[in-house]
């Protein structure tokens, strides 16, 4: 007997995802027959450690409860933006249990083991999840970020706001438990209009013609064992976990920190941790070689095509075809700042940032302030 439900799910509803790794540009292409959808996400890799340490330091700065709330909002905004970018359509309710299973399997394959155990009640619209060693929260214990993601997903699937809460079961085992329930009090409603990608997103992020000197792709790094993938699908650049994410997510973090007047704090943490990472990744080679290595790392992680000009007083980084989104471009210059601080042995600051839309490029000037 023909399994119509299975056919509908596999052939029409579940998206086909193809990741296109090119030097400088990584594209997540998602297509779905249901609704005739094809969408592309400009993806970059970022260092998990920077965000984990940011979360831990934020707890010290503003306390655990406020940090949890902050990251809950970031998780919910990120997922809402992802659903908007992928033009997700609310499915029929009888298919929701299968879709949840599919999504949780997707999380597991992306290194979010939050979904090792799950319990879903379609009638009551509740979901309980348990898992350990999740990306980000395994180091910082902030499970609320994952709770925000689950809240956004449940809200989308059911067409009504459903909040979620998390708790860490045991610090040593990095265990997260998340509950989503429509009866929970309202916590946060994302702004759809703000998170909706601009009409120019595709045009700017996916240039038709790209011709630049030899840069390496992530595939080259994997071939040369610079990036390794473990059995739980986590990517490692040297010893550091790197996570693929739609580029706008990093700007969502910056925005939320800005709202709490924590922008300077954020800048400091990102720059400092990037510098520590640079020290371990670049090692003991000459300055010229370190700059060349930085250029190739940025290109392989999908940050565009970096060109570096060094003069006596300043360093100018010209990023050609970096990821673009209407939320801004603050995160990457800070990471580059950290790397340059290590490379030069000086404390540099961002002096200016100029951008051009077509073709998309960003020029960042760094200099040490006397």
């Amino acid at each position: 007997m023909l399994n119509i439900k299975g056919y509908f799910l596999n052939k029409l509803l579940f998206p086909k995802v193809v990741v296109i790794h090119k030097p400088g540009i990584i594209i997540n292409q998602i297509s779905r027959k249901y609704g005739g959808v094809r969408s592309r996400l400009r993806t970059i890799f970022f260092f998990e450690d920077i965000i984990s340490i940011l979360q831990s330091e934020t707890i010290k700065k503003i306390g655990k409860e406020k940090t949890n709330n902050l990251w809950y909002k970031i998780g919910k905004d990120f997922t809402t933006r992802y659903l908007l970018l992928t033009k997700a359509k609310q499915p029929p309710s009888f298919l929701i249990p299968d879709i949840i299973k599919y999504m949780l399997a997707g999380f597991r394959s992306a290194g979010f083991s939050v979904a090792e155990k799950s319990k879903y009640n379609n009638k009551r619209k509740t979901l309980s999840l348990e898992g350990k060693d999740n990306l980000l929260c395994k180091k910082s214990e902030i499970c609320e970020y994952s709770a925000g993601i689950i809240s956004a997903l449940m809200s989308f699937l059911h067409g009504t706001n459903i909040e979620a809460y998390s708790k860490t079961i045991s610090y040593k085992r990095h265990f997260c438990h998340i509950d989503a329930n429509p009866d929970f009090n309202k916590r946060y409603i994302p702004s759809i209009s703000h998170l909706q990608p601009s009409k120019e997103y595709n045009k700017i992020n996916f240039p038709k013609r790209v011709q630049h000197k030899s840069f390496h792709s992530l595939k080259d790094f994997i071939k040369f064992n610079k990036v390794n993938i473990d059995s739980s699908a986590k990517f490692y650049l040297k010893d550091y976990v790197i996570i693929p994410v739609e580029a706008g997510w990093l700007e969502i973090i910056v925005e939320h920190y800005n709202r709490l007047n924590l922008k300077n704090f954020l800048d400091e943490i990102i720059t400092k941790e990037s510098s520590n990472i640079a020290k371990n990744i670049l090692g003991d080679i000459s300055q010229k070689e370190k700059i060349e290595a930085l250029i190739q790392i940025l290109a392989a992680l999908g940050w565009g095509f970096p060109y570096v000009k060094k003069s006596k007083d300043k360093i100018v980084i010209n990023l050609i075809h970096p990821p673009w989104n209407k939320l801004g471009f603050s995160y990457q210059p800070l990471v580059i700042n950290g790397f340059l601080n290590y490379i030069t042995g000086k404390k540099l600051n961002i002096i200016s940032t100029k951008s051009n839309k077509y073709p998309h490029s960003i020029k960042i000037e760094y200099a040490s302030i006397k």
Partner: protein, 249 residues
């Protein structure tokens, strides 16, 4: 009369003959060497060491008393000499050339186009020639629409197939060098990866310091090493890095 039962014959298993490349770590990736009589593609971007690997291959054959031919279609003879002289094995290599065990022929493409049929036929007929290197095969493709040659897309395809037909004979092992850069589309291949019996890929990563790796994705009649290996280019030519030793405490 008693039936005389003939003794059962043990099935004869013929061990495939192999030609050593001359670098033991690379030979070990292909069960001791390239299958004798095969045509192997050697591909990689410019500067990665393809011509140098082919020198090792020629030298190894000549040391065994095999007649080896090197056809270069892109560089003049003085450039080849300069390349050879960079390495410790230069004297030995040039001595073997004097003895007639290594023959180096340099052509530019229009010349080659006129003589290739006859040249490859002579190589095919001369059973003493055991090793052949063509450096590089790309000249066929870059000559398309060149007003000084007769090459068009269709007859280049024919030339490629004819060349492969000529190169295949018993005991002649051929290396064809394939220059490849990112900008070239797949059409440039003319199905060469399907025509060859094996492919050796060289590639490099420039992360401030240059790293080179060798990978063998295809080798007929061989259980080839499935991972890649790092190598360097030094005074001895290509030196494969033992990755277990290179990890520091």
């Amino acid at each position: 009369m008693k039936d005389k039962k003939k003794p059962k014959k043990e099935p004869q298993t013929q061990k495939l003959e192999r030609e050593s490349i001359g670098i033991k770590e690379i030979d070990s990736m292909v069960q001791g060497g390239l299958p004798s009589g095969s045509v192997i593609g050697l591909s990689g971007p410019p500067g990665v060491g393809k011509s140098i690997l082919s020198l090792h291959f020629l030298l190894e054959g000549a040391k065994k008393g095999q007649k080896c031919v090197y056809i270069n279609l892109e560089e003049p003879r003085r450039n080849i000499n300069n390349m050879i002289k960079e390495f410790d094995f230069a004297n030995e290599f040039l001595e073997l050339e004097k003895r007639g065990l290594i023959i180096i022929k340099c052509f530019d493409y229009p010349e080659y186009e006129k003589v290739y049929t006859e040249l490859l036929q002579r190589i095919k007929d001369d059973k003493k020639i055991k090793r052949l290197v063509i450096d590089s095969f790309n000249c066929f493709f870059s000559s398309i629409d060149n007003p000084h040659t007769l090459a068009t897309s269709i007859n280049v395809r024919k030339m490629v197939i004819d060349s492969f037909y000529s190169m295949r004979r018993h005991e002649l092992t051929t290396l064809v060098i394939l220059e490849k850069s990112e900008e070239q589309g797949s059409n440039f291949d003319y199905n060469i990866p399907y025509l060859v019996d094996g492919i050796i890929k060289l590639d490099f990563l420039d992360l401030g310091t240059i790293e080179r790796r060798i990978f063998i994705p295809k080798m007929r009649w061989t259980n080839q090493y499935k991972e890649s290996k790092s190598y360097d280019i030094g005074e001895k030519g290509i030196e494969v890095i033992d990755e277990e030793d290179s990890e520091l405490e």
